[in-house]
Amino acid sequence: MSEHDEHDENMEREHRTPVSFSGLSADDPRLQPAAKNPHTVEMVISITFVVGTILTAGFGAAYWVNAKPWILGATMGGGLLFLGIGLVAWGKYLMPRGPFVEERHTLANSEADRNAFAAAIVERGGSVVKRRKMLAGLLGGGLGIFSVVAMFPLIRSLGPLPKGTLFHTDWRKGSYAVDQTGRRVSVGDLAVGSIVTVFPEGKQNTDRGQAVDQTVLIRVSNERFTTQKGRETWAPMGYVAYSKLCTHLGCPVGLYEQQLQLLVCPCHQSMFNVTNGAVPQFGPAPRPLPQLPLYIDSAGFIRAQADYDQPVGPGFWERS
């Protein structure tokens, strides 16, 4: 753009927006661009616009031919970036450098206006309510009750009540322990130091089976194993079973540290000692993992003596 054109443009701007910059002559320094050499800047911005346009067009082409995602992203991102940088530079370096000022107006109104507003509400409203106290009370009561009652169907329909569901799992007396594929686990399946996740038979592929009944079965020795007093019969042939739900936040306790005989929760690193009834040894978990009493039937399958003797998973108010 030549000197002449630029001058014309300034004149034109002056002419078209006389209000904003009134009182300034066209050669006022505050109307001049911030850049020292606007022509160079203009050229650089032109280049960014051209590159941005080419990349944007490239994005269209890349989309057309179904190019790889990174090519789509690179062309679109590059295009936007170049156009954006050019536009910011235009605003920053080629537009009137200012600074311009705007006066603030106090938001607060005059005392008289404020009083009139308050009077409108207090006096008018007050007199209406005072004269019809009973009506106001009845309406208030009705609306109040409505707002409470309206919440009932809204909230109550969202789900069933917890009732006893949190206290029991699907393990029953005689439930076969099966692995994820549904195969029954028998006494010869695990070597000492091995672990498998088991479910009560029939529940291995259900949401509830996976979320609630999941149990880790660990073989800690070759003979009957006692984790705690009173649980002498619970771990026949060294097969110990614990709920896999961490008592902290319910993540599956999926890591087994074989040498230290620890079950570790990968979420928040609670550690449970397998040998003493999964008492938490470290981390934020407050309670031992519940132990599932097992027996081995005549065919050699691992089965549950009963359900867990306490709720599995994290704590809640109703839990005793």
Binding site: G84, A211, F316, R319
Partner: protein, 513 residues
């Protein structure tokens, strides 16, 4: 033909249109119907102060725009259903697996839909940028005292926006129903359960029954794509309305007073810059989406409540919560036939409750302690309010420690140190960090107050040697922008006629905080 004279030549046509041509004519027609001329002029003249830190809120706004655009794209292909399907799609390693429709459709929209993966990654990155920029923007507002009267309401709205953004980020992260997000939902369920008295009911009503159920994905979906974004949109509108109504704050400087705003007008300067900035934010998000993989759910696999993955972290804005859950001791309470899981309830409910409520009431606290009920339009320099600055830094120090604590296992693994040690250290650091950060920040602020020229760019000295062999250092003048000179700002004439007000004795009231 009608009686109306039709201008025949171009010149006459132009004259008929008036001095501002077709645009002027169109605006005139608009003004006839809507009466927009006055307000529009005022809006075009609105002054935006030039300071880089005012751009942080723009990043938040524009990343929200990107979230909406990419999010709309994703809703066309995502199926919010927990129904089980056998996967036969573009990603062969998963072929034949039983997965939920939510998971299958997310994998398919990543691999089958043209541009789908890019949009998904951009959406995820934009979310992280959104929350991150909100935090930084709020830090700017906090440390410069921009929340003070008359802007307390906008502080409240902004904080609500942050909470909604974090919440909606979590909802969206949960939707693909992959192994990592499923574990996140499981933890959220347990946190709800931990609330005394109503916890189990709350969890059952949100999830439509016992965990996991099939209701949660469609419910989270409608919250994530409609309800929460609508609230966010409304609050963003309110936020911007208040910003225009109350006008911007500005840093003190030559020519700047409590009674004016100095900067660039809306049109064309600010509009060019801010539109360009929208493109830049979009461009960077697209480049991140193109080159930085995020949340590759096909590598995690579908959610199965009995499986888990190791060393996975949630998005960064959940880090402080996860960290708090990791390091909080296993204190639980049970008695009278009831259990209160303090080991979850305190770090996951009480702690964020305290942090956010503290932020909500901070303007009130400060007003109470300083007795300062003035209108403030000029910003504080953080060092001039050492107590506030120190309090803010102490809070960020705590949050930073909690955030680091969310990767105790990774730290222990990486540095080959005992996990127990890391946990213990993080507990100590979380308690210590705020108490160390406060006095240090306070002292730095005080020192900076006394140090003349702090915060200004240093200019070089020219060292010359005299003929006698003596060296003299002559400082060069300060940079133009840093120098204290009288700024002659150009007044933009106002439309609203007002009686001139008597200026207050002093614009700024200095209060020790």
């Amino acid at each position: 033909m009608s009686d109306v004279t039709v201008p025949t030549n171009k010149r006459a046509q132009r004259e008929a249109l008036g001095p501002y041509g077709k645009i002027g004519k169109t605006l005139g027609e608009l003004d006839d119907r809507l009466g927009v001329a006055k307000g529009g002029r005022t809006f075009m003249d609105k002054i935006f102060p030039d300071h880089w830190s005012f751009m942080l809120g723009e990043i938040a706004l524009y990343s929200f725009v990107i979230l909406m655009v990419t999010g709309i794209y994703l809703t066309f292909y995502f199926v919010p259903s927990s129904a089980i399907v056998t996967y036969h799609g573009a990603y062969l390693p998963l072929d034949g697996q039983k997965v939920t429709q939510a998971f299958a459709s997310t994998v398919d929209l990543s691999f089958k839909v043209r541009g789908g993966l890019l949009m998904r990654q951009m959406h995820h990155w934009a979310c992280d940028i959104f929350v991150g920029s909100l935090v930084v923007h709020m830090a700017r507002v906090f440390f410069t005292g921009a929340f003070r009267k008359p802007r307390e309401l906008n502080w409240t709205i902004g904080l609500t926006l942050l909470i909604l953004a974090i919440g909606n980020g979590f909802l969206g992260y949960s939707l693909p129903d992959d192994l990592v997000s499923g574990t996140g939902i499981r933890i959220a369920y347990s946190i709800m359960e931990s609330i005394p008295l109503v916890g189990t009911y709350l969890a059952f009503f949100v999830f439509g029954g016992n965990f996991p159920g099939t209701a949660v994905i469609p419910r989270f979906f409608i919250l994530h794509v409609l309800i929460v974004p609508l609230i966010i949109l409304g609050l963003v509108g309110a936020h911007l309305f208040l910003l225009v109504r109350q006008k911007h704050t500005q840093f003190p400087g030559p020519g700047r007073t409590e009674k004016n705003v100095v900067g660039s007008p809306m049109f064309p300067i600010f509009m060019a810059k801010t539109t360009g900035f929208l493109f830049i934010v979009g461009g960077i998000t697209a480049l991140l989406g193109a080159f930085a993989q995020i949340n590759p759910i096909w590598q995690f696999g579908p959610y199965d409540a009995s499986r888990i993955s190791y060393a996975v972290q949630p998005d960064f804005y959940m880090g402080f919560l996860d960290g708090a859950l990791r390091i909080w001791p296993s204190w639980t309470f049970h008695s009278f036939g009831h259990t209160i899981p303090f080991e979850v309830f305190i770090p996951a409910v009480i702690l964020p409750g305290i942090i956010f409520n503290l932020a909500y009431v901070w303007p009130m606290i400060e007003r109470k302690f300083t007795g300062d009920n003035e209108i403030h339009n000029l910003l504080d320099r953080p060092r001039d309010r050492p107590k506030r600055t120190a309090a803010g830094v102490a809070m960020f120090a705590l949050l930073a420690m909690l955030f680091i604590a969310s990767s105790t296992d990774v730290i222990a693994n990486f540095f080959h140190i005992s996990l127990n040690m890391v946990l213990l250290d993080m507990r100590i650091l979380c308690i210590l960090a705020p108490f160390v950060a406060y006095p240090i920040t306070y002292k730095i602020c005080k020192e900076m107050q006394g140090f003349h020229g702090a915060g200004k760019r240093k200019t070089h000295n020219i060292v010359t040697r005299t003929t006698e062999g003596e060296y003299i250092a002559i400082p060069t003048p300060a940079y133009d922008e840093d120098a204290h000179h009288e700024l002659v700002a150009t007044p933009v004439p106002t439309y609203i006629e007002e009686t001139p007000e008597v200026p207050a004795e002093s614009g700024v009231r200095t209060v020790e905080r």
